[in-house]
C-alpha cells in the first residue's frame, strides 16, 4: 500500500529533522553548521560532548518515550477496538510510575540500575493485565475507562503516600516530575537501561500487528478468520507493559499522547489498526520532541512539565473524541 509506505518515509525524515532541531537548542549557542559538523563526527571535543552527551540524549529520550507511548496507544486501541484506549487513560502509566518510585525511593535501585525499569514495567504489567481481564468480562468500554481512572487514582494516591514516607530526601521534590513527566538531564545511561525493554516491546507489538486488523471484525469474527485471541491479548499486554514501563522509567508519567497520535494517523492508513502502529510511534516521537522543545523555550521560572503540554492538547481532544461517539458498533 503505497500510501502507508510514503507516510512512514515522510515520518522518518521528519523524525530526523526534529531531532536535529532539538540539538540546536541549548545554553551554548551553536550554529547549525557546527551542529551538523558534530553530528557527522567532525566537531570539536567540547561540541561533541554537548551534542552527543547532553542534547541528543535528551532529544532521543523524548523521542523514545513518545514513540513507546504512541505505539502502546495504537496497539491498545486495536485490541480494545476503541479510540479512547491508551496507557495513561487506562491507568497503566500511573501504575508504572508507582513501581518506579517505590523502587527508587526505598533504595532498591542500589542493587542494580536495571531495577528501575524492571520495577516500572512490573507496575505497568499489573495494570495492563487488570485491564485485559476486565475487557473480557465487561461489555462497555466506558466501564473499562472508569476502571482505568480508578487504577490511576489509586496508584497516584499510593505514590504520594509512599513518597511522603520515604527515607530518601528527594522523593517529594521529584513527585511532580513523576506525575507530570520530564526528560530533563536524561543521558545515554538512562536510555541504555531502558533500551532493551523498549526494543523488545516494539518488536512484539509490530510482529503481532496483523491480529489487530483481524479484530476489526470483532472477537468472534476474528477468531473465525483464524486469530488466536488469547495469544494476541497476551502479546499486546506484554508489549504495552514493556513499552509503557520503560518509557515511564525514563520520563515519568506522560498521558494523552497515545490517544491523540493514533487518532490522527488512523484515517491516513484507511483505519487499519495494524498499519497505524509504526506511523503512530514515529509521529508520537516527533510530537514529544516538539513538546520538549516548547518546554525548553517557553520562559518560566521553573521548567514546564511535558505532561502538562500533552494534557493541554490531549485532554480536550479526548473529550472531543468521546463526544463524537462511536460511529460503528461493537
Amino acid at each position: 500500500m503505497t500510501l502507508g509506505r510514503h507516510l512512514t518515509t515522510f515520518l522518518l525524515i521528519a523524525s530526523l529533522l526534529t531531532l536535529f532541531m532539538a540539538c540546536l537548542l541549548g545554553a551554548t549557542p551553536l550554529g547549525p553548521d557546527r551542529v551538523v559538523q558534530t553530528l557527522f563526527g567532525a566537531g570539536t571535543p567540547g561540541d561533541t560532548v554537548v551534542i552527543w552527551q547532553i542534547r541528543m540524549p535528551r532529544a532521543l529520550a523524548a523521542y523514545a518515550v513518545g514513540a513507546a507511548l504512541g505505539l502502546s496507544g495504537a496497539a491498545l486501541q486495536g485490541l480494545l477496538r476503541n479510540p479512547l484506549a491508551e496507557p495513561g487513560v487506562l491507568g497503566v502509566t500511573a501504575s508504572a510510575a508507582l513501581g518506579a518510585t517505590f523502587a527508587l525511593y526505598y533504595g532498591l535501585v542500589s542493587f542494580s540500575a536495571w531495577v528501575l525499569p524492571v520495577a516500572a514495567i512490573s507496575g505497568a504489567l499489573i495494570a495492563t493485565i487488570i485491564i485485559a481481564i476486565a475487557a473480557i468480562k465487561v461489555q462497555s468500554v466506558i466501564t473499562l475507562i472508569l476502571i482505568g481512572v480508578g487504577l490511576s487514582s489509586f496508584s497516584a494516591a499510593l505514590m504520594s503516600l509512599l513518597m511522603n514516607l520515604a527515607p530518601n530526601p528527594f522523593a517529594l521534590s521529584d513527585m511532580l516530575n513523576w506525575m507530570l513527566g520530564s526528560v530533563a538531564n536524561r543521558s545515554l545511561d538512562d536510555l541504555y537501561f531502558a533500551g532493551p525493554f523498549l526494543a523488545i516491546g516494539f518488536v512484539i507489538l509490530l510482529a503481532t500487528r496483523d491480529g489487530l486488523s483481524a479484530l476489526t471484525l470483532g472477537e468472534e469474527g476474528a477468531s473465525g478468520i483464524g486469530l488466536d485471541l488469547r495469544r494476541q491479548r497476551i502479546f499486546v499486554i506484554i508489549g504495552t507493559g514493556l513499552l509503557t514501563g520503560a518509557a515511564v522509567s525514563i520520563a515519568g508519567a506522560i498521558g494523552f499522547i497515545g490517544i491523540i497520535v493514533p487518532h490522527i494517523i488512523r484515517p491516513m492508513v484507511r483505519h487499519d489498526p495494524a498499519r497505524s502502529l509504526l506511523p503512530s510511534a514515529l509521529l508520537a516521537g516527533i510530537g514529544l520532541v516538539l513538546a520538549d522543545i516548547l518546554v525548553r523555550t517557553v520562559p518560566s521560572t521553573s521548567e514546564l512539565k511535558l505532561g502538562v503540554v500533552m494534557a493541554l492538547i490531549g485532554a480536550p481532544a479526548f473529550v472531543w473524541i468521546a463526544m463524537r461517539g462511536r460511529t460503528l458498533d461493537d
Partner: protein, 275 residues
C-alpha cells in the same frame, strides 16, 4: 465581690502582658525556649543551656545539624501551633519553621517570637548572630562567637590567582553570584565557576568545554548514593567532574544554614586550595 474584681484585674493584667508585641527581643533571660526549625536549633543549642531549652525541632539530631552533639535527649516538637502552644514556652525562635504566618499566630497567642534574619552575605552573619544571641539572653557569648568568626576569616590568606571552583550538591543545583555560597568561595580565596546569579541547575554544557579547577562538594558525605531522579548530578558530564577534578568535601552541616559555622567550610576550602 472584691475577690471577683481582683480576679478580673489579674486577668486583665495578664492579657496586657501578653499583648506586648515583642519581636527581636524577648524577656531578659527567657527560661523556656522552643525552636521551630533546624537553623533556629543551631542558635538555641549554642547560646542556651540545656535547662532552658524546652524543645527543639525534629531535625536537630539529623546529619546536617551542626550542633547535633548537643541535641541528645532534648525533647523535640513538630512546628505545629497546637503542639508548640501546649508546651507553654516563654520564647519561640525560628527562621522558616511554622510557615510564613507563624510569627503572627504565636504573637496573637501572647508568645514573643525571635526571628532569625535572612543571611545574604558574610557581613550579615555577625549582625544576625549578635541580635539572636541578645534575644536569647547571651550577648557576651554572642560577641565571643563573632570575634572568633572574624579572626578566623581574617586569617584566610588572600589568593593571587583564585581558582575557578564549582559548588556541587547531590540535588544537582549550584550557586552563582548574589548568594551566600558565592561569598563563601570568594572568602576562601577561590573564584566561582558559575557566573549566572542565583541557584540553578549545574551548567552541563559549560562543563563540556571547560572544567573547574576545584569542586566544592557539599552534602556528599551525608547522602552518598541518593540523588534525585532528575538531578543534573546524575548526568555523566557532572559525575565526571567529581572523578576528574580535585574535590574538597564539605560537610552539609557547615553550609546548610548561613550561620557562624560557615567559617569551617571557608577554612576547608582555603586549606584544600593550598598545594
Amino acid at each position: 465581690m472584691l475577690r471577683l474584681i481582683a480576679l478580673i484585674g489579674a486577668l486583665v493584667l495578664a492579657a496586657c502582658d501578653g499583648h506586648q508585641s515583642v519581636t527581636g527581643t524577648g524577656p531578659e533571660r527567657p527560661m523556656r525556649i522552643v525552636s521551630l526549625d533546624y537553623c533556629a536549633d543551631q542558635y538555641v543549642l549554642k547560646f542556651v543551656s540545656r535547662d532552658r531549652i524546652l524543645a527543639v525541632s525534629p531535625d536537630a539530631n539529623s546529619e546536617f545539624s551542626y550542633m547535633r552533639d548537643r541535641a541528645h535527649a532534648i525533647a523535640t516538637v513538630r512546628p505545629r501551633v497546637e503542639n508548640v502552644l501546649a508546651l507553654k514556652p516563654d520564647l519561640i525562635i525560628r527562621s522558616y519553621g511554622g510557615g510564613p504566618n507563624a510569627q503572627a499566630m504565636y504573637e496573637r497567642a501572647g508568645i514573643p517570637v525571635l526571628n532569625i534574619g535572612y543571611v545574604n552575605n558574610l557581613d550579615d552573619i555577625p549582625n544576625v548572630t549578635r541580635t539572636v544571641a541578645a534575644g536569647l539572653g547571651a550577648p557576651e557569648l554572642g560577641n565571643a562567637v563573632i570575634a572568633e568568626f572574624q579572626t578566623r576569616l581574617a586569617a584566610i590568606p588572600a589568593s593571587e590567582t583564585p581558582l575557578p571552583t564549582l559548588y556541587m550538591t547531590p540535588s544537582g543545583v549550584t550557586s552563582g553570584p548574589d548568594t551566600l555560597i558565592h561569598e563563601m568561595l570568594i572568602a576562601a580565596g577561590l573564584a566561582n565557576y558559575q557566573t549566572r546569579p542565583g541557584w540553578r541547575s549545574l551548567p552541563l554544557e559549560e562543563l563540556a568545554y571547560t572544567s573547574p579547577d576545584l569542586i566544592a562538594a557539599a552534602f556528599f558525605n551525608e547522602q552518598p548514593e541518593t540523588v534525585g531522579a532528575w538531578s543534573s548530578m546524575r548526568h555523566p558530564v557532572a559525575r565526571r567532574q567529581l572523578k576528574q577534578n580535585s574535590a574538597i568535601s564539605l560537610n552539609g552541616a557547615w553550609t546548610s544554614c548561613g550561620a557562624w559555622f560557615l567559617i569551617d567550610a571557608i577554612e576547608a576550602l582555603a586549606q584544600g586550595n593550598r598545594p
